[in-house]
């Protein structure tokens, strides 16, 4: 159990998807302009990461490894993720229209979000168990949401600030991401 907790916090804070592994930068800069859409995007990514890890881990260890075709994982994983995103989108549309209206437009974008494909590779490369993969996916998703929400909060305030003209928009967002990364460095020694 303590191992799972270590994986969760390690993925969420120490090896943060956005700030340390540079995965999911497109939504990080694209959707972090206001708080509510940032939160919705984060939750949508968390959901897809969780389902993708739960599906790709058994697929890799039960199907690809015994057949000796581990090199096919790139092709298989991206197809699985693309179909999962479609299925999740349809399922949410049928069951919960409010949730669909909140997350709907972000779901198709997630197929090409490197954070989702990234977490499935990390699960395999780090040789996590099935439960470990689930913990890693939850941690990565939570860390992604956390950073996205912090970033959107900062950017909402930044709109009112007097930023030098050449730094407005993307450049200052990168600098802030760097400062956030420095702050997250403090979590470094927390989990082994």
């Amino acid at each position: 159990m303590s191992e799972l907790v270590a994986i969760f916090f390690g993925m969420a804070l120490v090896n943060n998807m956005v700030l340390v592994k540079f995965l999911g930068l497109c939504p990080f800069f694209g959707v972090s302009k206001n708080l509510s859409s940032a939160f919705s995007m984060g939750v949508a990514v968390l959901l897809v990461m969780l389902v993708a890890s739960a599906v790709t881990w058994p697929l890799f260890h039960i199907l690809l490894v015994p057949s000796g075709v581990e090199f096919m994982r790139t092709v298989i994983f991206i197809l699985v993720i693309a179909s999962l995103v479609q299925i999740i989108e349809m399922a949410i549309k049928r069951t919960n229209l409010t949730l669909y209206n909140a997350l709907g437009i972000y779901l198709p974008l997630i197929t090409t979000n490197c954070a989702v494909l990234g977490i499935t590779f990390i699960n395999i490369d780090n040789e996590y168990s099935f439960l470990g993969s689930i913990a890693a996916a939850l941690g990565a998703g939570a860390g992604f949401t956390l950073v996205l929400v912090i970033m959107s909060g900062i950017r909402e305030r930044l709109d009112l600030a007097d930023t030098p003209k050449v730094f407005r928009g993307a450049p200052i967002a990168f600098i802030i991401a760097g400062l956030l990364g420095l702050a997250f460095l403090a979590f470094g020694g927390m989990v082994g």
Partner: protein, 204 residues
């Protein structure tokens, strides 16, 4: 010929994928810690982008519109697997230091974006020009970022173990923050602002 040159130069300056369009940032920032990595990543992207553009452009009349995105993804994923295996076979140390960012080229927005926005609408010749231009644009950007990071982070410049020069003083006490992930954010943020200040790109 003129449209060939125009499509070629388009990706280098006017719609530079990294500095103007801000696409495909994940590999650019993640592997730009050394010039070796930058050269390796540029080669991988050039191969995948060029081949994907040619294949998509050749097949553009036969790919049904409704399933075009999955088709593009399968084509790109196959090419990326080829690059991944080739690097593991012929350049093991490079493959180790690029790590999972090689398979992640699949979800690099530049490649899918060019297949969708350019190669599926233009002939092979123009698609080749577009792919080469975009790859050069990507290469210039990642080389520039890794040049700054390596120079400030280690105090010297090295390409494939050949030491070009080292800065006296800085080499003994390098600003190693630039090799840490946050260094990449600072470098690209300041470069973007610098390009706007020089008038290469426009302010918001």
């Amino acid at each position: 010929m003129s449209s060939f040159v125009k499509n070629l130069t388009n990706g280098i300056v006017r719609s530079n994928p990294t500095f103007i369009l801000l696409l495909g940032l994940c590999p650019t920032l993640a592997v730009s810690t050394s010039l070796d990595n930058a050269v390796g990543m540029t080669g991988a992207v050039l191969f995948v982008l060029l081949t994907a553009n040619v294949i998509v452009s050749l097949l553009r009349r036969w790919i049904p519109n409704r399933v075009r995105i999955p088709t593009f993804i399968v084509i790109i994923a196959t090419l990326v697997t080829i690059v991944d295996l080739a690097l593991q076979g012929f350049a093991w140390s490079l493959s180790q230091s690029l790590g999972m960012y090689i398979p992640l080229i699949v979800v690099n927005c530049i490649i899918l974006g060019r297949a969708e926005a350019f190669a599926s609408r233009n002939n092979v010749r123009q698609s080749v020009a577009d792919a080469i231009g975009m790859s050069i644009g990507f290469g210039v950007a990642i080389l520039l970022i890794s040049l700054v990071r390596q120079l400030l982070g280690t105090g010297s410049l090295e390409v494939f173990s050949i030491r070009l020069f080292s800065v006296p003083g800085l080499a003994d006490n390098p600003a190693s923050i630039f090799l840490l992930p946050m260094g990449a954010f600072f470098v690209i943020g300041i470069l973007l602002a610098l390009f706007r200040w020089m008038g290469v790109s426009e302010c918001e």
